[in-house]
Amino acid sequence: MPNLSIRARLIFLSVLLLAILVLSSALLIRELARDSRSLTEEATFVSVVKNANSVSKHFGDLKYWVIDAAVTQLARSEHAAEAAKVGLDSDLKAISAVDPAFVAAIEREVDAMTSLARQAGVAYSSDDSAAGNALLEQAKSHVPDIDSEIDKIVDRVERQAVARRDASTRQAELAVKLAIVGGIGALVLALGFTALTVRSITVPLKALERSIASITQGELEVAMPPTGVPEIGAMTRTLGMLRDSLIERTQLERKRQQAEAEMRVARDAAEAALHDLKAAQANLIQAEKMASLGQLTAGIAHEIKNPLNFVNNFASLSIGLLDELKAAAASAFGSLDERKRGQVDEVSELLTGNLERIVEHGKRADNIVKSMLAHSRAGGGDRQIVDLNALVEESLNLAYHGARAQDPNFNITLDRQYGADIAPVELVPQDMTRVFLNLFGNGFYAANERRRAVANGTFRPVLSVTTRDLGKAVEVRVRDNGVGIPEDIKDKLFQPFFTTKPTGEGTGLGLSISYEIVTKQHGGTIEVASEVGAFTEFVVSLPRRFTLRESADFSTVGTKQ
């Protein structure tokens, strides 16, 4: 019974149960009615049997009194015969329903016998004994027939009564059985229909309940139960709408989260870009500053170089001239007195010393000027395709032996971490060697400074050099475990003439030239990381750029150029 409402189902069930009740009741009533009818019939029959039994008694009385009356002619007998006849007639009438023809035959026989007996009585009264006797005999001759017929009919009535009783008993038993079966059947039917109806309601309810439980637990993909029962169908549709709205809300929430995540990513990217931009701007400003400082430095060097050359040349020339003067004037000096000659000797010694000092400091100035000129030279050298590790190793050896030559006590552990299979790089070997010499020299110096600062001599200076292939670029890391660089001077490191070394030990141009060479000439970067009292690390990264300039001119250089 699909698509029926619960109310309709319940009404249907009630009607059905009522029908079953009515039908079973009707059945029982019918059976009871039938029973009562047969009981009535039986009761009737009992009286019939009684009548039948009294038929033979009345007939006995009748035949006696009729004959007696005929013989005695007594009125009493006549009355008794009349009474017996009335009783017999009434009995026969009572049982005539059993077999009317038969009863009529008996009546006729009885009437014939009675009539003959009366005629005999008439004959006797007229004292015709013979006729009376004959008539009486005739009347008596009817008696056995009537007796046997009465017996027959009584017997039949009795048999009929037994049969009726048996039938009635069977009928009653059948009715009881029928009532039991009908009752059980009705009960089963009623229970069955009730169960079916209840089930037709509870099954979709259970399915709905399961769906609700699933949705409550967040399983939104659950299928909706079929909508058979209208009320449950309505609930299912409502649940479906709830589920759909939940799904929609979940999707919206997901979209919102996604949008937020995207926004975050975009914001992070924007922040990163801003950060990069700021860093690039800072680099640009630094590069600009460096470039103008470099140009200024080179320009100053250019202007100073020539006059300085004259100073140096004339100073050294003057030493020779002074010697010449002393040689030429030796005899003249010899004629001077002791005191004056001493004076002349002293002055000439002082002059020679001064000139030597001019030459010495002039050479120092010349070295500085040469370094300064390196700024203007950056970018002018020949690019070559070289093996980076070989170049680094060569520079490291040069720096190490140079340091050993300057200070025989100098020592440091060199930790080489050269990357394997670094593809050749295009660079200006002389200038990059200069950069590496600078970085190694600085590292040696810083590590040695720390060794000097640590009193007990347990400190072990280490300089590690790492090379790496980054694909489009190569990287060289120079790390020392020296004194480190204080934060406040980090941004001055690459400025020309900035130095932490004592006067005369450093020009303050090494890193500024290195910066120029790496950034301007090679388009690379040079960065520094440091912790005071722990380490300093310079990271030089150079783009590989084979494509620039006419590559046909480049000669491949191995370990030695």
Partner: protein, 129 residues
């Protein structure tokens, strides 16, 4: 045998410096020093007969007008056998390379190492005599 040396430099003090440096050699009659303050003046001097025999030209590179390298090429076209030594304050690779390419006999950086220069001149002089 006395020979001539031509020195080309736009700085007049160079003449004074060289005269002082080569005072003894000049006195001994080894060299006669000639000076030109520009490349053009040098080429003019070269066009005249220099007495005694000119054995070498020493030239600066950075000069107003024609520079030392251009002068070198000019001289090499006119007098391919005449040695030319370049003297410069800026001994960078590019100039060194070009000087060698144009046939310079020597490339010396300023301040001039006169002992070295005198040795080179002495050898050149010895080759000729």
């Amino acid at each position: 045998m006395t020979v001539s040396i031509l020195i080309v430099d736009d700085e007049p003090d160079v003449a004074i410096l060289f005269r002082q440096q080569f005072r003894r050699e000049a006195r001994e009659g080894a060299y006669v020093l000639h000076f030109a303050l520009s490349a053009a003046a040098a080429l003019e001097t070269l066009a005249t007969d220099i007495e005694p025999q000119l054995i070498v030209i020493l030239s600066d590179i950075n000069m107003p007008g024609m520079d030392g390298l251009a002068l070198l090429r000019e001289i090499k076209m006119r007098r391919p056998d005449l040695p030319v030594m370049m003297l410069t304050a800026y001994g960078d690779e590019e100039r060194r390379r070009r000087a060698a390419e144009y046939g310079a006999a020597e490339f010396l950086t300023k301040p001039v190492d006169f002992d070295f220069l005198k040795e080179r001149l002495r050898r050149l002089h010895a080759q000729l005599t």
